[in-house]
Amino acid sequence: MNSQNATIISYRRRCNLAGQGTGLSHYILLTPSAEKAPEADSK
């Protein structure tokens, strides 16, 4: 298999947050990080 390494790219990542704010439609992207957004209402 090692001889194939240089020419093949294949990988897959798994989401740790599946189902927790990851299931929306194409309008607005609510991000989990928004929960941690600093309060900045004076600006």
């Binding site: 298999m1 194939q4 390494n5 020419t7 093949i8 790219i9 294949s10 990988y11 897959r12 990542r13 798994r14 989401c15 740790n16 947050l17 599946a18 189902g19 927790q20 704010g21 990851t22 299931g23 929306l24 439609s25 194409h26 309008y27 607005i28 992207l29 609510l30 991000t31 989990p32 990080s33 928004a34 929960e35 957004a37 600093p38 309060e39 900045a40 209402d41 004076s42 600006k43």
Partner: protein, 462 residues
């Protein structure tokens, strides 16, 4: 899949018990993609060495991991619970955009839900989410339109009352966002989606205008400037024949303003107005990739990233299927299973795109149990829409990177939901482009910043 003694010993793709590997030309000088459609497994291989992935250890390795990939896809396509609701607190809108997917009469002189009923709807939703979602998972509630800020008092009362219970968002045309409203939304950490269609007033005001025909470009840009430092801001540009030629300039414009996330959503053909403004797929692809290239260039020059979220979602669907944020590009789509939409009269449809299409109502939030709505015949029709059940998607290698969106739009165009997207060839091009980016190992430059934290490597060919 039935297992026989031979099943685990397959060493060739495309024969016997071996996997069905499709070869996809991606337009890269060196590499082609090889895809197993059911599991959304992919690899990129030097085109001169294609034969080495069609037999031997790689096929064996795939066969060993396939059950795990299949389970993951089953979970994504059928195992997620409802975790978001879109609520239209009013039918009315102060604008009359040329391509709006909502009926004109409704937007012009429709009803409001009113504060009391809105609170009652959210109470009912919350009770459902508390039963259905695991502890610690906060449901999402997005005020949507028509223009939700027309019902500002009711919306803000609901946000203040339920701020600990929901993660709120609002999709607004920004014309009614004054300083007081902005301060309130920031204070409650409400996600804000704004709409703008072009970098100049002349083009932007052509499609986004009020009932008297006047545009609001200056005002919207003013609001974006006030919110660029806000992490939960994103901007939507609806791409039509009127602005498709400005996409690259839009990237410069947004990047210059400091915007971090934008969606370039091709106009939905759900209504005649939208259908009349649909750009040609190839022209759209060309302009879209020019915009992507420009965002990449600006990122390399400045270190500041402008994520084009609808493309990032396609890319995410390839490199980490469960890492998608948006559930339009998978079948069944998220409508009616991950989220649903509540119209101002309480009717519940699978997605905002279905508002005004009463044949897709699953019930009324003021009369029916959300559980019953989710299992209604109409919802089952949408949640049962699977690409493997209709042509040409059933045999398409990229069927789980595209999902053939969107059923509401397709229903209007084709008279049924089990048909391909009017944007089919645009999706094909997007997936090819995504693979070219992966071949160049540049995908991180196009994905949102928290991608690495939200996901972990589950498979890597070595």
């Amino acid at each position: 899949m039935n297992q026989t003694p031979d099943s685990n010993q397959a060493t060739f793709a495309n024969t016997g018990h071996g996997p069905n590997f499709s070869v996809l030309e991606i337009g890269d000088p060196d590499k082609v993609a090889v895809i197993e459609g059911d599991t959304a497994y992919w690899l990129l291989v030097d085109r001169r060495e294609l034969s080495q992935v069609l037999s031997g250890p790689l096929v064996t390795e795939f066969m060993e991991r396939a059950p795990e990939f299949r389970l993951e896809m089953d979970y994504l396509r059928g195992g997620l619970s409802l975790s978001a609701a879109y609520v239209n607190p009013t039918e009315r809108c102060n604008l009359n955009c040329s391509y709006c997917y909502l009926p004109e009469e409704m937007r012009k002189s429709g009803i409001d839900m009113g504060e009391e009923k809105l609170i009652a709807a959210l109470e009912k939703l919350l009770a459902h989410f508390r039963k259905a979602l695991p502890d610690g998972v906060k449901p999402q509630l997005i005020f949507h339109g028509s223009e939700p800020m027309v019902a500002r008092e009711a919306v803000f009362a609901a946000i203040a009352r339920f701020s600990d219970d929901f993660r709120f968002g609002i999709q607004t045309n920004a014309t009614l966002l004054d300083d007081e409203a902005i301060a309130f939304l920031r204070r409650h950490r409400v996600g804000i989606g704004l709409s703008l269609d072009a970098p100049t007033a002349e083009t932007a005001n052509r499609t986004r205008k009020n009932w008297q025909g006047n545009g609001y470009y200056d005002q919207v840009v003013g609001v974006i400037k006030k919110l660029v430092d806000y992490p939960a801001l994103n901007v939507i540009t609806t791409v039509t024949t009127a602005n498709v030629h400005t996409m690259k300039e839009m990237v410069d414009f947004y990047h210059g303003l400091g915007v971090r996330v934008v969606m370039f959503n091709p106009v939905r053909c759900t209504r005649e107005g939208g259908m009349a403004l649909k750009p040609d797929n190839q022209e759209l692809a060309k302009a879209f990739f020019a915009a992507l290239d420009r965002s990449y260039e600006l990122f390399k020059q400045t270190g500041k990233k402008l994520v084009i979220a609808n493309f990032a979602n396609v890319l995410a669907g390839i490199v980490g299927p469960t890492g998608r944020r948006l559930m339009c590009d998978i079948s069944p789509c998220g409508g009616g299973r991950c989220f649903f939409a509540i119209a101002a009269d309480g009717e519940v449809v699978p997605c905002s795109e279905f508002i005004g299409m009463r044949e897709f109502s699953g019930g009324n939030i003021f009369k029916d149990d959300p559980e019953d709505i989710l299992s209604s015949r109409t919802f089952k029709e949408v949640t049962g829409r699977r690409v493997e059940n209709f042509a040409p998607c059933a045999g398409c290698a990229i069927r789980h990177f595209c999902g053939a969106p969107c059923p509401a739009e397709i229903f209007k165009v084709a008279g049924e939901i089990n048909a391909p997207s009017p944007y089919c060839s645009f999706f094909e091009e997007q997936v090819r482009h995504a693979f070219r980016i992966i071949a160049g190992k540049e995908e991180e430059d196009y994905l949102w910043d928290s991608w690495q934290d939200e996901t972990e490597m589950s498979y890597c060919f070595k």
